[in-house]
């Protein structure tokens, strides 16, 4: 999976374009970018900079709806990921069970971590 060959379809030789294949997979450790762009961004502040695990890749890839809101939607399809973040990671002194977690869908451009091809 780590080699560049993973971008080539074995049957057809077709090479996947940027954004067609998910950069992360279920089980990957990721963190949410700490950025504060102007506008309405669908990554709530309370998860920025927090670490979690990719639970699932949401298919199919979708238009970045943050950009779409400004009329920019050409060629920027990426995957969303359902990411699990422990509530103990989000809130210092969280009193409930250590197993309690948040699940949230985050667009690829907001996730950091080891990606395919890295």
């Amino acid at each position: 999976m780590e080699s560049i060959d993973a971008n080539i379809d074995a049957r057809t030789g077709v090479v996947a374009a940027d954004g067609e294949l998910p950069l992360f997979k279920a089980g990957d450790e990721v963190s949410v970018s700490v950025r504060y762009p102007i506008g309405h961004f669908r990554v709530p502040n309370y998860v920025r900079g927090k670490r979690g695990i990719v639970e699932a890749v949401i298919v199919p890839p979708a238009i970045n709806n943050e950009e779409e809101g400004y009329g920019r939607n050409a060629g920027n399809k990426r995957h969303y990921y359902r990411v699990a973040i422990p509530l103990t990671e989000l809130w210092q002194g969280y009193a409930g069970s250590a197993n309690d977690s948040l699940r949230i869908e985050i667009f690829e451009s907001w996730l950091e971590g080891r990606r395919r091809n890295d």
Binding site: V43, L87, L90, G96, D100, L102
Partner: protein, 213 residues
């Protein structure tokens, strides 16, 4: 949940002076109508679309999942496709992830950014769902919040709070109450409340519900 702390003053109350957003909505609507981009008939039609969606649709889906294991598997694999089998359309082009409650996992749904909600299956969200106390506390202190709804989750049961903020909407598949083996699908559907599909309460037998009141 009329007795619940999150039920504040009625949101539908007509105030004497229209608010900022009310004025803006009226202005934009009148401009768009004036420019013939859409008409009053289309607005009314969209209201009818929304009014035709009620928790009864979601309850039918849940009851079918309880009696039909193959349907349950399809529902958990792709919530939207499975609901479409019932003729429930997804007019807003959202996908649906159905989250199954078990003996070990309790799911709760929130939208911390606004009021994203599985409208195609449940209709309009309750007012408390849209208010900040629910939105903030669902992700910060879900156990205390649930206890206020009368739902006490044991410590060995994992709580998963799904914050729907972008593309996907969520629906909780509650656990089928014990003692309902002889129930018909229709009788089962009557046990499934809107709040159970949000995850703030469990689906319960009518006796259990009455006992709480």
């Amino acid at each position: 949940m009329t007795e619940h702390a999150h039920d504040h003053t009625p949101a539908a109350e007509l105030s004497a002076v229209p608010g900022y957003y009310e004025i803006m909505e009226t202005a934009v609507r009148e401009l768009l109508t004036e420019k013939r981009l859409f008409g009053p008939g289309e607005i009314r039609r969209q209201i009818e679309v929304l009014d035709s969606r009620t928790p009864a649709l979601g309850a039918k889906v849940v009851a079918r999942a309880w009696v039909d294991p193959a349907f349950r598997a399809r529902l958990l694999a792709n919530g939207r496709r499975a609901c479409e089998e019932f003729g429930i359309t997804f007019y807003d082009d959202t996908d649906l992830i159905v989250l199954e409650n078990t003996d070990k996992v309790h799911n709760l749904i929130v939208c911390t950014l606004c009021s994203c909600y599985p409208r195609p299956v449940l209709g309009l969200p309750p007012d408390w769902y849209k208010l900040k106390p629910y939105r903030a506390r669902a992700v910060k202190d879900p156990r205390t919040l649930l206890a206020e709804f009368g739902t006490v989750i044991p410590d060995d049961v994992e709580i998963r709070v799904s914050d729907s903020t972008a593309m996907v909407r969520y629906l909780v598949l509650p656990q089928r109450p014990a003692g309902t083996d002889a129930f018909t699908e229709e009788q089962l559907a009557a046990l499934v409340t809107r709040d159970a599909m949000i995850g703030v309460v469990k689906a319960e037998m009518p006796e259990a519900k009455e006992a709480l009141q």
